[in-house]
């Protein structure tokens, strides 16, 4: 009998007192949403550094007129993979990492609906990353076609293009599976009493984003598959000589591409909607409006794609329609900005690092939104399309927008994830350095675009020299400042001060109110009752 009792700690005993898995196999086989969230976040940071190195090479070449450092074809490869890696390797996986960590905890569920598919969704990413990085080393080098992969330059490109297409298919599969998981989890696994309109805003933003992903990732897959068959299997979708049309590629790509930018922005909105109320010690203003506004943005995002193509030669009626539809998106976006400011209004504000980044987001994302409005107006866009004004615009919304929101979220939730506090002084240094160098890098690019400097050129006319030098200096500073962030995170995890149970006075979602800090490996095995 004694022996039998001694064996109750056997293979079947996975209760909360069982051994937590350990070693490399823990990570390879994990079906735990917290582990998978952690892996997504570390992967995204590694990709951020890879994409960032490419940016440093780009800005080093653009530091002065002339071709000093790289050949034009290599430069074109750098701008291409900088974009692909940042969008698909860094920013999207970062927010999926947040989704994995937070959605189950915030709705009172024990894990995601499909834990094994969750594991696969993550593990598809490293091979895709290897393909994108490996593409630099095949004959002909990386495909220098721009992250948008326009035909017929893409149909003409070397073997790296095929590796890139393959990588995109894999990334798309990962996103689609992850989105199915998120939708099912949110719709089916909320704790009793948590109606959709009681759910944290972060969960709403991911529910909406997941639908966008499921709708448009297959469209991107279609576009790159048509490119692949044009390259190797005798089709001529994008070749006029065969009856096709290069502009068809642009329509298909941007039908994916516009919702894609909201796929990036909307989870960022969600994070900010958690952080600002917490540090204002006040509920989010206009919760219902925020939900409707986000849904409106998502629906409208399907109807505006050709504003990326105003100069392609479409009929004037089409240009007018897309102009009207595009400026409309400013309305729900503005509603969200006003609601965030109204949340802060008459609150009791403190300015720890998460709040600093959230406010930086609010200020700079809105600035980027305004330059988007300028670009939406067709006659003005004819001047600015394919110039550095566009580069400035999207870096404001994606870096000062989405990336700042991700930083806010990491500083905010690090205590919950690790049980340790980051160093507040170092966090503030990271914020201020990032803010200043970011603006140095990208604000002057608005002027470069207005003055007529085109995009995607490795060398430029002398009148663009001063602002390019300033931009490059800003970029080097921005890049270095992110190494400080790496140091802060590692120091927190290894030797940070123990965090209190509720480090943020105003935080009130379930992970803060119902779970210890750090959150246990398995949480909410029994769902909480929500009043």
């Amino acid at each position: 009998m004694e022996a039998a009792h001694a064996h109750t700690h056997g293979h079947d005993d996975h209760g909360s007192h069982a051994h937590k898995p350990y070693g490399m196999m823990r990570w390879i086989k994990s079906t735990n949403h917290k582990d998978i969230g952690t892996m997504y976040l570390w992967f995204s940071f590694a990709m951020f550094l890879v994409g960032g190195t490419m940016a440093m090479i780009i800005r080093a070449e653009l530091f002065q007129p002339g071709l000093q450092i790289v050949r034009p074809e290599f430069f074109n490869s750098m701008i291409t993979y900088h974009g692909l890696i940042m969008v698909f390797g860094a920013i999207m996986p970062a927010f999926v990492g947040f989704a994995n960590w937070l959605i189950p905890m915030q709705i009172g569920a024990p894990d995601m609906a499909f834990p094994r598919m969750n594991n696969l969704s993550f593990w598809l990413l490293p091979p895709a990353a290897l393909l994108l990085i490996g593409a630099q080393f095949v004959p002909g080098g990386g495909a220098g076609v721009g992250w948008t992969l326009y035909a017929p330059l893409s149909t003409q490109a070397g073997p790296a293009m095929d590796l890139t297409i393959f990588a995109i298919h894999i990334l798309g599969m990962s996103s689609i599976m992850g989105s199915i998981n998120i939708i099912t989890t949110i719709l089916n696994m909320r704790a009793p009493g948590m109606t959709l309109m009681k759910m944290p805003m972060f969960c709403w933003t991911w529910l909406i984003t997941a639908y966008l992903l499921v709708a448009v990732m297959p469209v991107l897959a279609g576009a790159v598959t048509m490119t692949l068959t044009d390259r190797h299997f005798g089709t001529h979708f994008f070749n006029a000589a065969g009856g096709g049309d290069p502009v068809l590629y642009q329509h298909i790509f941007w039908f994916f591409g516009h919702p894609e930018v909201y796929i990036i922005a909307i989870p960022a909105f969600g994070v900010v909607s958690q952080v600002i109320p917490a540090f204002s010690r006040k509920p989010l203003f206009g919760y219902a409006s925020m939900v409707y506004a986000t849904a409106s943005i998502a629906i409208l995002s399907f109807m505006v794609w050709a504003h990326h193509m105003y100069t392609a030669g479409m009929p004037v009626e089409a240009q007018l329609y897309f102009m009207y539809a595009t400026v409309l998106i400013a309305v729900p976006t503005g509603v969200k900005v006003f609601n965030w400011v109204a949340t802060m209004w008459k609150g009791s504000l403190t300015f720890e690092t998460p709040m600093l980044f959230a406010m930086g987001f609010l200020f700079l994302f809105t600035l980027g939104g305004f330059t988007g409005l300028v670009l939406a107006i067709v006659p003005v866009d004819i001047q600015l399309h394919d110039t550095y004004y566009v580069v400035a615009h999207f870096h404001y919304v994606m870096v000062a927008g989405a990336l700042f929101s991700a930083f806010a979220g990491i500083y905010f939730w690090l205590p919950k994830w690790t049980g340790r506090m980051y160093n507040e002084t170092l966090g503030k240094w990271h914020f201020w350095l990032t803010l200043i160098f970011f603006n140095l890098t990208f604000f002057v690019q608005h002027f470069l675009g207005l003055a007529g400097m085109p995009r995607r050129i490795p060398d430029y006319a002398l009148q663009f020299a001063e602002f390019n030098m300033i931009s490059s200096i800003g970029a080097f500073g921005f890049g270095l400042s992110q190494l400080l962030f790496l140091y802060i995170v590692i120091k927190t995890i290894t030797s940070g001060e123990k965090a209190e149970a509720l480090p943020w006075e105003g935080a009130n979602s379930l992970e803060w109110t119902h779970l210890p800090t750090p959150a246990p490996y398995h949480s909410f095995a029994t769902p909480p009752e929500i009043k």
Binding site: P65, G66, R71, P72, E73, N76, P139, G140, G141, G144, P152, L153, Q156, A240, A241, P246, R281, G286, Y287, S289, T311, G313, V316, Q319, L320, M323, V327, A330, V331, G334, V335, F338, V341, T343, W345, K346, G347, L349, T350, F351, L362, T366, F370, L373, V374, V378, V380, I382, Q383, H385, D386, A451, G452, P454, D459, Y460, A461, L462, F464, F467
Partner: protein, 379 residues
């Protein structure tokens, strides 16, 4: 203190707006437009930017007020209000009205921009990897045709002549041939491409039109002032996307007529007798010019190419092998590489450049290719 402080900032703000027009000199704004339409676009941009700026200051005025007055450290206690339908309706409708107000002038400007009817002249611009070709199709100057290639010396670009670059005000914005047009006339520009997407962009004429291979698009401009206006290709088209500029020279009518006359004389003089016997030296001399305009970017002045990317011609098996193979390769290009077909060059130019490569550097075939051989090989 508050009131004086506010007045000071309001004055600064007003000065700021009205100085916007002057900023063009400091390269903070669009280049000064040379067309009436361009002025409309410039003003539209100014108005929209100012409106955005005002809204931005208003909204973030509130945020920064809250940052200073509603912080915990000054003892402010949080209110708990969290919704207000009236306010939501207001800040949905008011921005919508502002946007409609912006869309109205934008619509009328756009309709004008797209109306290419009844031009005085029509010119076709064709984008190549990596230069532009122009054909004067209709109007005064009909029949004139030429290529326009970057004329900035390679040494200035790759750093062998930094002093030259710094002293060159038109670095990367100069071409051997300019698109010459008369002032005050509506010029319709047909835009197309021979290989991949390009875009024809001249900021001071307020035009940008994508060049789509296999399709013809159009745009138009009417320059109000004579002058030289420079632009660049504005759609990524491969390695020398940044090195295929556009130079439009707008002339007074009398001067333009004189230019047309001179061009037509040149064309007549250059009309080559297809049966003229070209000596090896004639061909090599002409070939050197053609090489500098069309081949040097990839295959380099040394003929050594770029290892791993562009093959060397010096010592090349193709260049030193049967001439028929080299002729075929130059006429058809090489699929899957950046080596395009050069069949758009004339028989004389192709014969010359092939002869040049076969008799230059360490290549000593001694062979001269006759233009008639190229003509025969095209079939």
């Amino acid at each position: 203190m508050g009131n004086k402080w506010f007045k000071k900032w309001a004055a600064a703000g007003a000065l700021f707006f009205w100085s916007v027009a002057a900023w063009a000199e400091y390269k903070l704004n669009l280049q000064l437009p040379m067309t009436h339409l361009g002025e409309q676009i410039y003003d539209l941009h100014t108005i929209i930017t100012v409106i955005c700026f005002v809204i931005f200051i208003g909204v973030f005025g509130f945020m920064f007020y809250a940052v200073f007055k509603h912080r915990k450290s000054v003892g402010h206690k949080a209110s708990q209000f969290h919704e207000n339908t009236a306010v939501e309706v207001a800040w949905t409708l008011i921005p919508a009205v502002i946007l409609i107000a912006m869309a109205v002038p934008a619509t009328s400007t756009l309709l004008t921009m797209r109306d290419t009817s009844e031009p005085d002249m029509t010119i076709k611009a064709t984008g190549y990897q990596w230069k532009w070709g122009y054909d004067y199709l209709k109007g005064e100057g009909e029949g004139i045709s030429f290529y326009s290639t970057l004329s900035t010396p390679r040494e200035q670009i790759d750093g062998r002549d930094v002093a030259g670059r710094n002293a060159n005000p038109h670095y990367l914005l100069e071409t051997d041939n300019h698109v010459v047009v008369p002032v005050g006339k509506k010029i319709r520009v047909l835009v197309t491409a021979a290989d991949v997407l390009h875009a024809w962009y001249v900021p001071q004429l307020s035009v940008k039109q994508d060049a789509v291979p296999g399709f013809i698009r159009d745009t138009w401009f009417k320059a109000e002032k004579a002058g030289v206006y420079r632009g660049q290709c504005a759609e990524l088209c491969g390695k020398d996307h940044g090195f295929m500029p556009i130079v439009v020279e707008v002339m007074e009518p009398a001067q333009y007529t004189a230019w047309v006359g001179a061009q037509q004389k040149m064309v007549a003089a250059a009309k080559v007798d297809p049966n003229k016997t070209w000596t090896l030296d004639d061909l090599k001399a002409q070939g050197e010019k053609v090489y500098a305009q069309n081949c040097v970017a990839c295959h380099q002045a040394t003929g050594m190419g770029v290892p791993g990317a562009f093959p060397a011609l010096n010592g090349s098996k193709v260049v030193n092998g049967p001439k028929a193979d080299q002729i075929k390769l130059v006429l058809t290009g090489k699929q899957g590489t950046a080596m395009n077909s050069f069949k758009h060059l004339s028989d004389v130019d192709l014969a010359a450049v092939i002869t040049y490569t076969r008799n230059h550097w360490n290549n000593k075939t001694g062979e001269a290719i006759a233009p008639a051989e190229i003509k025969a090989a095209r079939n």
